[in-house]
């Protein structure tokens, strides 16, 4: 394995770990705001790492650029989605739980 491949593998593994963490967060966090936090922030990071890992393996710059664009679009859309969902939740009266799990 070349160093490049090793690096790529490391990125991919780290990305996968973040994604896993994000998913656990969505499942375990107590309220909608915390879950959004886990979903957007952690998953975006995970995706970024995966994209980086794949970009290292890609054959051409064009492909790498496309991969990067994918990440960019996901970043934008998840930021807005997060915002929209949070606002909708607030409007419907979902109260932040302050860290405690509801019974």
């Amino acid at each position: 394995m070349s160093p490049l491949e090793l690096l790529s593998a490391a990125f991919l593994l780290a990305g996968a770990a973040f994604c896993l963490a994000g998913t656990v967060g969505v499942l375990r966090f107590p309220d909608v705001y915390c879950r959004l936090h886990a979903l957007t922030k952690v998953d975006n990071l995970g995706l970024g790492l995966v994209v980086a890992g794949l970009a290292l393996q890609s054959a051409s710059w064009a492909t790498a650029l496309k991969l990067f664009l994918v990440w960019l679009f996901v970043l934008i859309s998840s930021a807005f989605t997060c915002q929209l969902i949070a606002r909708a939740a607030l409007r419907r009266g979902a109260v932040p739980s302050g860290g405690r799990r509801e019974p």
């Binding site: 679009f73 934008i76 807005f80 915002q83 929209l84």
Partner: protein
Amino acid sequence: MTDVLLDGCLALCLPLLAWLVLRTESLSQAVVLFVAFGLLSALGWARLDAPDIALVEAAVGTGLTGALLMHTLSWTEETPPDVRARARRRPWALLATAALTLLLGWAVLALPADSPGLGPEVEARREDSGVKHPVTAVLLNFRGYDTLLEIAVLLVAALGARAVNPRSERASSDAAKDPLTGELFRMMTPALLLVAGYLVWVGDHGPGGAFQAGAILAGGGVVAILTSRMGTPRMSSLRVRWALLTGPLLFIGVGVAPLLSGRRLLELPEKLAGTLIFIVEMALTVTIAMVLLMFFPGTRPSRAGRGGER
């Protein structure tokens, strides 16, 4: 080895997920699971070397359908409880499913294991079709007539959907002034147009085409409708009708024109075929985007808003 593992996992997960979708008591959970199911199946399409389908599935089959269903739930919550989903236990359901699967599986496994299908025929005539991408060649040329009727299907669905929910609702005007979504659209619109144009262009020689492009365009529009920045396009507006119908008219025209020179329906002259297909696809992209938008009848006015309305 890993391939088989991945394929096997996917092949197993899809039916299980489907089962879950239907077993879940909560409708919103079911819809979310369905979206997950759609994404997973898009992965399956990709595994089967069908990137065109994966694209359409992700954008239309899952994205838009998911949004549509989610959107509907906000209405059907008001359905009286007796019509609600009742998770009745049906022991026969599992049995029936298994029996049906076995029967159909028996037939599937009896199929020849290595048939190339019509692949060679398509390959042999691809040169004459005017496009390089075989799927586009089949879709717009070899079986272009199917596609023509399919456009009619879309029009009918749009017409029907608008006929039963004619109002184009926007929850509140203040939502339209929301700076956040305004920013989003300022950023997204050029990108969407670019991507859509690219997809139509690339359809000539690679995965892409009018449906994918139309779906992308519609995606932007749907977000606009759902955030109340835009009303659903209305059939009463002449501009909307032109946007909707230019594509079909052009397609019919291109299909019928060869008859004038003694050719058959949709028998495009070889030299012009590529250009004609590109033009038709551009127009159809707009049609498809319009149709998909028409499926979304706007956001539901909030309860308070409804109270004020009356």
